[in-house]
């Protein structure tokens, strides 16, 4: 497929969103990932989320590190500026970009190698700082581009395609994000678009550091028996804490008819996230309980998915720094340069 140019024309009756854009306006170039790669499903979910939220594509900045996952920003939002930065360093580049212009939506896409190994430090610190962003890790527990080495999220005891057993403890990025103070923490599965799209929408609307760990099986190197990140393994061990339905101030776009209790989560900006609870009494506002629940489920061998934690009165880095409302990159000499009269005063104070 990858050698074909993506056709530009589309069916005239394609549905349009409130801005008059079709789904196609949110697409990027043709993916060069392996056929069936979970990452492409996540790209699809991002496209759908942005389309449904009526986001102007060029108002999103998409940033990534290095690796299969970090290649994906080319495959969605073709009218957005993208930055494929340095391995493990997307968070710092995104932080800088966010400081420069607080008015754009920042979408950071990373992988488990990029975020849990080489970039674990930057992953931690951008969450601590509360950078207003959506940070998605496309997690397959394996290094794909370099042919199948274990990553730091690979479970202890899981088997590589060549039969090597991983003896190192695994890093759970969701647990870390909770501990580090991320104000929106979720996990999903690339094969579960019904869960993933609303999660991405809610994360975009969330003010502050929103982290989504998306288990995304590697069809080439981590989809075999013995792997704990294969399609089959995840499907068998997945336990969703809630079903999420995203409601904007306008109207519900997508409705989930799954049975169970519905809880409407109101975020700081007034947008609402509705949770369809699968696990009874799950409270997404309780960081401590979320951490306990995660530990208990992990001990029971279950992958918890859904919105695990969200902070109601979340703040972002710009609030912490008390910056002006105008984007810093739009300030000119008049705003920034104190001028010669002030410099004369400064000179006088230095004599």
């Amino acid at each position: 497929m990858t050698y074909l140019t993506k056709p530009k024309f589309h069916h005239p009756d394609l549905p349009k969103n409130a801005l008059g854009y079709t789904h196609r306006d949110y697409e990027g170039s043709v993916s060069t990932l392996c056929a069936g790669c979970g990452h492409d499903s996540i790209s699809g979910a991002i496209i759908q989320a942005c389309f449904e939220l009526d986001i102007e594509p060029h108002k999103v900045a998409k940033l990534s590190g290095i690796g299969c996952s970090s290649k994906t920003p080319t495959y969605f939002l073709g009218h957005s500026h993208g930055f494929n930065s340095v391995h493990g360093r997307m968070p710092s580049v995104l932080t800088g970009a966010n400081l420069a212009n607080r008015d754009l939506i920042y979408l950071g896409v990373s992988g488990d190698g990029d975020s849990a190994s080489i970039g674990l430090g930057q992953f931690a610190h951008c969450l601590r700082r509360g950078v207003n962003m959506v940070y998605i890790v496309e997690n397959n527990g394996v290094y794909g581009l370099t042919k199948g080495q274990f990553s730091a999220t690979a479970d202890r005891g899981s088997k590589s395609k060549r039969g090597v057993v991983n003896t190192d403890s695994s890093i759970d990025l969701v647990m870390m994000a909770l501990q580090l103070g991320a104000t929106f923490v979720a996990r999903s599965f690339s094969g579960d678009k019904r869960q993933l799209v609303p999660l991405i929408k809610a994360a975009i609307e969330h003010k502050g550091a929103a982290f989504i760990d998306v288990i995304s099986p590697c069809v080439a190197f981590n989809n075999h028996t013995g792997s704990t990140k294969s399609f089959d393994h995840v499907r068998e061990h997945n336990m969703a804490v809630n079903r999420l339905d995203f409601i904007t101030g306008r109207a519900p776009i997508h409705v989930d008819y799954a049975p169970g209790a519905l809880e409407v989560v109101e975020q700081h900006d007034g947008s609402k996230v509705a949770l369809r609870k699968i696990a009874p009494h799950y409270d997404p506002y309780d960081r401590l309980r979320a951490m306990n629940y995660l530990q208990e489920s992990a001990a029971a061998g279950e992958v918890v998915t859904g919105l695990l934690y969200v902070e109601r009165e979340s703040e972002d880095l710009h609030e912490h720094l008390d910056t002006v409302a105008t984007p810093l990159n739009a300030l000119g000499e008049k705003d920034l340069c104190p001028g010669s009269a002030m410099l004369d005063k400064i000179n006088a104070s230095l004599r």
Binding site: G78, S85, V86, R89, V324, L328, N329, E333, L350
Partner: protein, 615 residues
């Protein structure tokens, strides 16, 4: 009586204070330096401090120089020896005929002194113990008391010192009177018990003019404010931390919106230097003026990002306050030893623009200019300061700013440009200067977006692994570097009074010592033309300066003659024509050293070669 006759000089001597780190001596010593300045006599102070918070030895040296020689001189004329740990070393560093001021509360055996100096004992501890009961006060006022002693010994204007104390404690007014009292305790003791003044002394002069007294780091930070920096990301490292601190202080005063009280700046103390430069690159990519301040180890850590910024063409400003390397090296001593690692930072074929300020004034000017250059050239610009400039107060020209100046934001296409006839290709060399046009994220709904990456791409920013577009791009980057030659600060040339076939190239903090060395050489009958390099890539004038002369000394503060290496490499010069003069022990280079090295070399040339034995 000392065996050497006591030094007798007015407004021309070196005082060194030997203290214990953390004893509160710094402000008293600075008070002394400022008081001399207020008498119209230039000073050049230097901190010599350990990598330590409390307990290790620290020195503060004040060169008093009516002639205006602001480089380090070498040697000490008056030692204020307040640290028993370093007594022997301090005593040894005194010039013959010099003076030693020490605390004589406890008896010191005569064998601990030298017989060629004047020894001045003042029972400082006894005076303090008599006057104060609180141990902290005893310690702090002891420092002011020895300044009081100095005012008598050196014939200083006491009202100036009192006025300075008033300025120093403005807002904490109840501290003024006790400090002035302590000053007079010392002064009165000296006037009553000692021969005042000494052979070395001060006399009011008018040699300071309108110059200002400022640290290079503070001046560079002010340059960042004036140059329009809005994002600063940094990681603490000596000797650059005070630059980021100063930026915060300047911004708090100059960059808070008066109406909303909101900040027109963002400062992040990052988790490491990798994140610092990453934040700078992200902000630069998104159209804000951003910088980081660091030192050599930070430059090492930033290599990968610097390569990305070079290749992906993202503006960034890095102020490198150089210290002694390699590794942790001499973290609190000065060197100019990051020249090569900065010029060629990162893997692959990379070259970076460097600026070499000579003092705080140029640190201000070049840092402000660095933001224009970064935006114009869409590449990292490195301002190469060093500890000697950065962390010492230096007397220098007042800072100036032209209010008609508009920031040069470089080639940025707006939505209107994109809607117009102009073709947008992110890496398209439209103007033939190697500099392409860019767009900020979020500019236009359908035009001008592109993907930034460190991988090869074509002129339209499309990913490619083909050789031809790669070479095309690398060649354009070279053309851009050529363009930079005309944009960086030009070298400053000063020819000798009489024609000569020899020259000297120098840069950065070497400048004041170099000026003095040339005067010394001229006095000995040597003529040498001077060229101060202020930017890299080198202007054609730099290569011409070398090729027009028989040979040229290259004076620098590192072991490997890094600037010389860069000159040979980039200007394709014959290394034989470039004679290295290298000083790298961590102390600032001195005129004595430079004049000695150049003088010796020129002397050697005059030696008549031995006649060949004819067989």
């Amino acid at each position: 009586m000392p065996t050497a006759s006591p030094i007798s000089r007015v407004n021309d001597f070196v005082v060194r204070f030997a203290n214990v780190n953390g004893s509160g001596s710094a402000s008293a010593n600075e008070l002394f330096a400022r008081a001399v300045l207020r008498m119209g006599v230039p000073v050049s102070p230097r901190n010599i401090f350990p990598s330590n918070i409390q307990g290790l030895p620290t020195w503060y040296e004040v060169r008093v120089t009516e002639a205006g020689h602001l480089g380090a001189r070498g040697g000490v004329d008056l030692m204020v020896a307040m640290n028993p740990q370093t007594w022997d070393k301090d005593l040894a560093s005194l010039e013959p005929g010099g003076y030693l001021l020490y605390d004589s509360t406890k008896p010191t055996p005569p064998s601990k002194f030298r017989d060629d100096i004047t020894v001045i004992g003042v029972p400082l501890t006894a005076i303090c113990n008599r006057e104060y009961s609180d141990p902290r006060q005893r310690q702090l006022f002891k420092n002011i008391i020895y300044v009081g002693v100095l005012t008598a010994l050196l014939d200083m204007d006491v009202p100036e010192v009192e006025k300075l104390i008033g300025e120093q404690f403005k807002g904490k007014d109840k501290l003024i009177a006790p400090n002035i009292h302590a000053l007079h305790l010392g002064r009165d003791h000296a006037l009553m018990n000692l021969t005042c003044p000494l052979g070395i002394r001060l006399k009011r002069a008018t040699a300071v003019g309108d110059r200002i007294f400022i640290e290079g780091n503070s001046a560079a930070a002010l340059g960042a404010v004036y140059g329009g920096a809005t994002v600063c990301a940094w990681y603490p490292i000596t000797p650059s931390s005070s630059l980021a601190d100063a930026f915060g202080r300047h911004c708090a005063r100059l960059r808070v919106d008066p109406a909303t009280k909101k900040n027109k700046f963002a400062i992040i103390q990052a988790e490491d230097e990798l994140a610092s430069i990453g934040i700078v690159v992200g902000a630069g990519w998104n159209g804000a003026r951003a910088f980081t301040a660091t030192s050599g180890p930070g430059i090492s850590l930033m290599q990968e990002f610097l390569g990305l910024a070079y290749f992906a063409e993202v503006p960034a400003v890095v102020v490198d306050v150089q210290r002694g390397g390699p590794s942790t090296g001499m973290p609190t001593r000065t060197q100019q030893s990051d020249i090569i690692s900065a010029a060629y930072a990162s893997h692959g074929d990379t070259k970076h623009v460097l600026l070499f300020p000579e003092d705080p004034t140029e640190a201000f000017e070049f840092t402000a200019q660095a933001f224009d250059l970064a935006d114009r050239l869409q590449t990292p610009i490195m301002v190469m300061l060093d500890l000697d400039i950065g962390m010492n107060h230096r007397l220098c020209r007042p800072l100036t700013w032209d209010d008609s100046k508009v920031y040069d934001r470089g080639k940025v296409m707006t939505a209107a440009d994109l809607d117009g006839a102009k073709e947008f290709g992110r890496y398209l060399d439209v103007d033939g200067d190697g500099i392409p046009y860019r767009t900020y994220p979020g500019t236009h709904p359908t035009k001008g977006s592109f993907f930034t990456r460190g991988s090869t791409r074509d002129r339209y920013a499309r990913y490619t692994e083909e050789g031809a577009p790669y070479v095309d791009n690398m060649q354009r980057l070279l053309r851009k570097f050529e363009t930079a030659k005309e944009l960086v600060p030009q070298p400053v040339r000063r020819d000798a009074a009489k024609p000569t076939r020899y020259g000297v190239i120098y840069f950065g903090s070497t400048a004041p010592a170099m000026d003095e060395a040339i005067a010394m050489l001229e006095a000995s009958g040597y003529a040498v033309d001077m060229l101060r390099v202020r930017g890299f890539p080198f202007h054609q004038k730099v290569a011409d300066f070398v090729t027009d002369r028989d040979f040229v000394f290259v004076v620098e503060q590192n072991r490997d003659a890094q600037l010389r290496m860069l000159l040979v490499n980039e200007c394709n010069l014959d290394p034989v024509r470039l004679v290295p003069v290298l000083h790298y022990d961590g102390t600032p280079i001195t005129a004595r050293f430079i004049a000695g090295a150049i003088g010796d070399h020129l002397d050697a040339l005059k030696i008549t070669p031995l006649r060949k034995v004819v067989s």
